[in-house]
Amino acid sequence: MKKKIIINLAVFLIIIVILALVQNLLMPKYMSSIFEGNLVEEYYNNEKDNDVIFIGDCEVYSNISPITLWENYGITSFIRGSAEQLIWQSYYLLEETLTYEKPEVVVFNVLSMKSSEPHKEAFNRLTLDRMKLSKSKIGAINASMLEDEEFITYLFPILRYHSRWNELTGEDFKYLLSKEKKSHNGFLMRSDVKPVSYVPEGKKLPDYRFSENCYNYLDRITKLCKDNNIKLILMKAPSVYPYWYEEWDQQMVEYAKENDLTYINFLDYVDEIGIDHNTDTYDGGLHLNLAGAEKLTKYFGEILSKNFNLEDRRADENLKKIWNKKIDFYNDMKQHQQEELEEYGYLKSYGAVKPEEGK
């Protein structure tokens, strides 16, 4: 009788393992393109000892370099960003992060205030698929699902990705069990340059007020930080586009005042930061490239270290060891990107698009 139970249990376990492997095989790996898919996941293996946590969309993961922050100010940080991260996703990611650690400061990029509703399933997947199962993940899924999405496909992604069976490539097998690191504490490095050519004006909107839904979540983020004694900073990255309306800026200024928060619109300090629209962006001004990110980070770091009493921890031996490794990885990638730029003219293996002739 006992033998039967053991055999049954063993069979059951084997079935579970095989199913888990098959599911992992069919899920996209994001190792050769769309690196954004790795950002959420890379947090878990990281040391949970961050002074600052950044949350938000591509304006955080492209424009801030945690390595630079460490090298210049001894501040540890991690960027929990993802592609087109919506504010409720930011909230739940923050909630989840706080179950692992309690940073001193949380920085939230407020661009996502303009998105009151979920927009595209693909972005939901990039942010949610690799979150570890938790109450926060469930909350995030429910808040993010589009009408024709189903919860069970988030619980068992194999139900969503099973039809990838005929799109499997070597990459899917190679990275079945473990993946390569692609970000630097959540920062995606792009060393290429595409200068700003034309700055589009904002088109007139019928209504500038941010939605109730977004304000609700902003309130929740504010409360979450207050309850945990964390200082919340609202930021707006210095991107040329999407257009950041004066009316939107005003609302954030007011919100910050009402809630005793710091709000920094870096668009106002472009000159002081030293951003050069000819050299510091890789996509015509939507995002800063490596050079621009380092400039912005140095400027921001000054504020963080002076105004927020963040200790310089470069003397800590343990941290030094850990971060030296990160610095090496950072510099290696920097070099590799330089080499690719020299050889191909564009960042071939970093998701850049080959520039068309004559454009």
């Binding site: 069979v11 098959v22 139900l159 069976w165």
Partner: protein, 484 residues
């Protein structure tokens, strides 16, 4: 919900009444044995019979009435409107859009079969209204059948105790097999079928043939897969339902096909409509008159022909409230009768050519039946009678066979990989069907070591999980969009 309660209650009550009349009758005979004269006996019997008939008719009227109103009102209205439009294009009656309860065609037939059986004194009525209610509403059957007979179901539901490890295993396997047929084959082919049917102006000629082929396979795998799931679940509960399919595509003639496809519907019509009609007084009278007028050979055909045509018309509109279904039904009748008439011709052919038992001739018969049924089924495929005839025309008029080789197959929403899966899974299906002819496959698997069974089940499960045509990307309308 109300409707099924109405059917349950009315049938239960009335069958009880009828049974009671029969019991009264039996008692009367017992008590008065030998003391009544023949005349009175006959009168009494006739009286009892007519009482029973009236009750039965009432019940039939109520229940078929409900079915007719819910299902066919809008159809009738559209026909009435058609006639009215001929006179006055502005006027028309509006449609009622009545909601049709789940499985009404199935449970109505099932309960009316029970009623008629009671009337025929086949078995005694079910005293327990809950048991009876369960018989009517046993939900796995409601969706697609099979249509059960009360005595079969009663035995297996309430009396036999075959709920055990073995039946659970077998049942589970059958459920998996059903899902395999439905999700991997049927739902995949459905994408192509919907594309072809969605733009009949674009997909003409050889695409119509492709549509027929795909639809035949799709309908079979979808329907029989669903039945497998129903029978499998029931088996796991220890309830044994009757089979509804018997490898119909191996049939060699249309008559045989209808003994092997949707079996329970066919037998229901045979038992409850065909015989009653052919031995009913008006039909017999007509037959007699025809025999006198037109001779014996004509006369003896009359009951059969009338019954056949009525049955097939009914079968047609049972499938749907539209003319294309009626036409489909009638065409089936025509072909069945015609091929029956041709029997002497066939016999002559076979005595001359001695090919009847050769493998190639049998293969020819199978192929012929398959395509014959596929052509007939086209009325089910395209919505209207006119469209169907137009598509028939294009099969012979449009010579675009070359499109098959020019990547036309890839314009239907299926990729090369999809076709590979279809071919492989249909091969598995055919293999299993061939194996089944010499004994149940599941039973044979039971004899193999446990590991083999577990592996087979697991592989089946994985195939469904990975290759099933469900979720994002299998919506044909999405495909049509991305074509633009």
């Amino acid at each position: 919900m109300v409707y099924i309660l109405a059917t349950t209650i009315s049938t239960y009550l009335i069958s009880r009444i009828i049974s009671n009349i029969q019991i009264k009758q039996a008692d009367y005979f017992k008590n008065n044995k030998g003391t009544i004269d023949k005349e009175d006996l006959k009168k009494y019997k006739a009286n009892m019979k007519s009482q029973q008939k009236r009750w039965m008719a009432t019940c039939l009227l109520i229940n078929f009435g409900i079915l007719a109103v819910l299902k066919y009102t809008d159809f009738s209205i559209s026909n009435i409107n058609f006639v009215i439009h001929l006179f006055n294009p502005e006027r028309e009656f509006s449609y009622l859009n009545l909601a049709i309860p789940l499985g009404i065609s199935f449970y109505t037939f099932q309960s009316m079969g029970y009623l008629i059986d009671i009337y025929r004194e086949k078995y005694s009525y079910e005293k327990n209204i809950f048991k009876f209610g369960l018989f009517i509403s046993y939900f796995p059957q409601l969706i697609q059948g099979p249509i059960s007979r009360f005595d079969d179901l009663k035995k297996t539901m309430f009396e036999e105790h075959s709920y055990n490890q073995r039946s659970i295993s077998l049942g589970f396997q059958r459920v998996l097999w059903g899902f395999f047929k439905k999700l991997v084959i049927a739902d995949r082919l459905l994408v192509a079928v919907k594309t072809i049917v969605g733009s009949p102006d674009e997909y003409t000629g050889v695409y119509v043939l492709l549509g027929m082929l795909f639809y035949g396979i799709e309908l079979y795998t979808d329907f029989s897969g669903g039945i497998d799931i129903t029978i499998g679940i029931s088996e796991m509960l220890g309830i044994n339902l009757k089979e509804n399919f018997n490898r119909p595509f191996f049939s060699k003639s249309i008559a045989e096909y209808w003994r092997r496809w949707h079996i329970t519907l066919g037998t229901w019509f045979k038992d409850y409509m065909f015989y009653p009609i052919s031995i009913s007084k008006p039909v017999l009278k007509l037959a007699k008159k025809s025999r006198e007028r037109f001779g014996n050979s004509f006369g003896k055909r009359v009951p059969v022909y009338i019954s056949t045509i009525v049955i097939w018309f009914t079968t047609g509109i049972w499938h749907g409230a539209a003319w294309n279904f009626a036409v489909w039904g009638l065409l089936n009748a025509v072909i069945i009768l015609a091929s029956h008439e041709c029997t002497p011709l066939y016999t002559r052919f076979h005595t001359k050519f001695h090919v009847e038992h050769t493998f190639s001739f049998r293969l020819f018969q199978v192929a012929r039946t398959f395509w014959l049924m596929a052509f007939l089924r086209t009325f089910d495929l395209y919505r209207g009678v006119g469209t169907t005839f137009k598509m028939y025309g294009s099969v012979f008029g449009d010579f675009n066979v070359s499109e098959l080789f020019n990547g036309g197959l890839l314009n239907l929403g299926l990729s090369v990989a999809d076709y590979i899966i279809i071919v492989l899974s249909v091969t598995v299906l055919v293999t299993v069907s061939l194996l089944q002819r010499s004994g149940g496959v599941r039973e044979r698997l039971m004899k193999k070591p446990v590991a083999v069974r577990y592996c087979t089940n697991f592989v089946l499960f994985l195939s469904i999980l990975i290759f099933g045509a469900y979720g994002v990307g299998y919506n044909a309308s999405q495909f049509i969009y991305s074509q633009f």
